[in-house]
Amino acid sequence: MTESAEQINQLRLELRRGVVVLAVLSQMDVARYGYSLIQQLAEQGLDIEEGTLYPLLRRLEKQGLLESEWEVGESRPRKYYRISAVGREVLATLSADWFETVKMMQGILQGENHG
């Protein structure tokens, strides 16, 4: 990988970091286990690596934004995550921020002064 491609990759990762949290929270109204969430997000065009998503779920749980429960009735035990009441409030705020940011960035990137 060339130096600039590597740099772009790094910047892209930084850009996505916050978005992933928002995307995950938005999908957790229904209880989901890790792999089902990966598939759900992939179907909507967002590919997240396992090594990123699984630790993130635990981190969000520690922060009180998700709740979890082990389901042992299935073929194998699975840990299901679901958004908490606090998580719902955070999601509402972050979503509003996101739409505002998108609008603002569109203005900045497509504005007259751009380029």
């Binding site: 792999y35 396992e50 035990p77």
Partner: protein
């Protein structure tokens, strides 16, 4: 197949915090299995399992992504630690080398010069390492006890920034170093008082040969050192030098210089003149202690005098040289 997954999960678990290990391992196992079932249905081959595990990443890498940033001394404390270490790396070897030279002068070594030099270098190295270890340990304790060096959580106010070259400004590192070195010196002086004089051997039960020192001067030097420690603590709390405080500091330093003459220079050089006639025949050999004391006093007065004059002339206006905002 199961064996490879187990081997992977076990390796990840090795780097996980013990409290969470079992839960993360169980979850990881189930996540890998979900992926294998979805992708290969039935019994995947060893190579297929390996390709899924490769996507998860190296066990160490995935384990660290489960834990928050871990460090002995974090970025907020690191600059303070390095500042103290840099001071110590200069000071500690210098003190050890000085003590060894002092020891060699007072009690001429039985071993050769080469061995003495090697011993000195090794002991300086050892003391520096011990010093570094203690400093790092102290900072690690501060880091993990969630203490903050500057406990005051006052909001930053740019108007409070000190003037460039403001004589009232307290160099906090210098003050803290002064307190630490002063405490060490006071302990050494107390030891000398206890054993009745100077000796490079720090052993209360067996201090070795002791050079007698006037006890009154030894006591006065302890008092002036203690005075400097108290003054520096006071200045640290007040965070501002006043003319009177700087005068007190200067006077205490001058008393220290005089004490040093009676407690160190005179007895040591007197002993040297007796022990080494060649040294005694040198010009000023009999007055070298006085010369050193006068030079130290001049350096002290020149160093402190300018600041004292500035503090004195500026003390007419009691208000600080910047506007203090009032709440509301």
């Amino acid at each position: 197949m199961a064996d490879l997954v187990e081997r992977y999960v076990h390796q990840v678990g090795r780097y996980l915090p013990p409290k969470e290990r079992a839960d993360i391992e169980a979850e990881l196992r189930s996540q890998i299995q979900d992926q294998l079932d979805d992708r290969y249905e039935g019994a995947p081959s060893q190579a297929e399992v390996a390709s899924v595990l490769a996507e998860f990443g190296h066990p160490y890498q995935i384990a660290t992504s489960y834990t928050s940033d871990q460090y002995l001394v974090g970025p907020a404390l690191y600059p303070f630690m390095m500042m103290i270490l840099r001071y110590g790396w200069l000071l500690v070897p210098a003190i050890i080398i000085f003590l060894n030279i002092f020891g060699a002068l007072v009690t001429p070594p039985q071993t050769g010069l080469f061995n003495r030099v090697v011993d000195t270098v090794l002991s300086a190295l050892q003391a520096t390492l011990i010093f570094s270890a203690i400093v790092v340990l102290c900072f690690a304790l501060i880091q993990h006890s969630h203490l903050k060096l500057d406990a005051k959580e006052e909001p930053f106010n740019p108007l409070d920034l000190p003037e460039v070259d403001d004589p009232h400004t307290v160099d906090r590192v210098e003050a803290v170093s002064g307190i630490a070195i002063g405490t060490l010196a006071a302990l050494v002086l107390l030891y000398f008082l206890r054993v009745g004089g100077l000796t490079p051997r720090f052993n209360l039960t067996d201090p070795g040969e002791v050079i007698p020192v006037p006890q009154t001067w030894l006591l006065l030097s302890i008092v002036s050192t203690a005075g400097m420690i108290i003054l520096n603590i006071w200045v640290l709390r007040r965070n501002r030098w006043s003319a009177v405080m700087w005068l007190a500091q200067t006077l205490l330093e001058l008393i220290g210089v005089v004490c040093l003459y009676f407690v160190l220079y005179e007895p040591v050089f007197e002993r040297l003149v007796v022990a080494s006639p060649a040294f005694g025949s040198l010009p000023f050999a009999n007055n070298i202690g006085e010369v050193l004391a006068v030079l130290s006093a001049i350096v002290n007065l020149l160093g402190n005098g300018r600041k004292l004059v500035r503090l004195w002339t500026e003390s007419g206006s009691s208000a600080p040289p910047y506007a203090v905002p009032t709440n509301g």
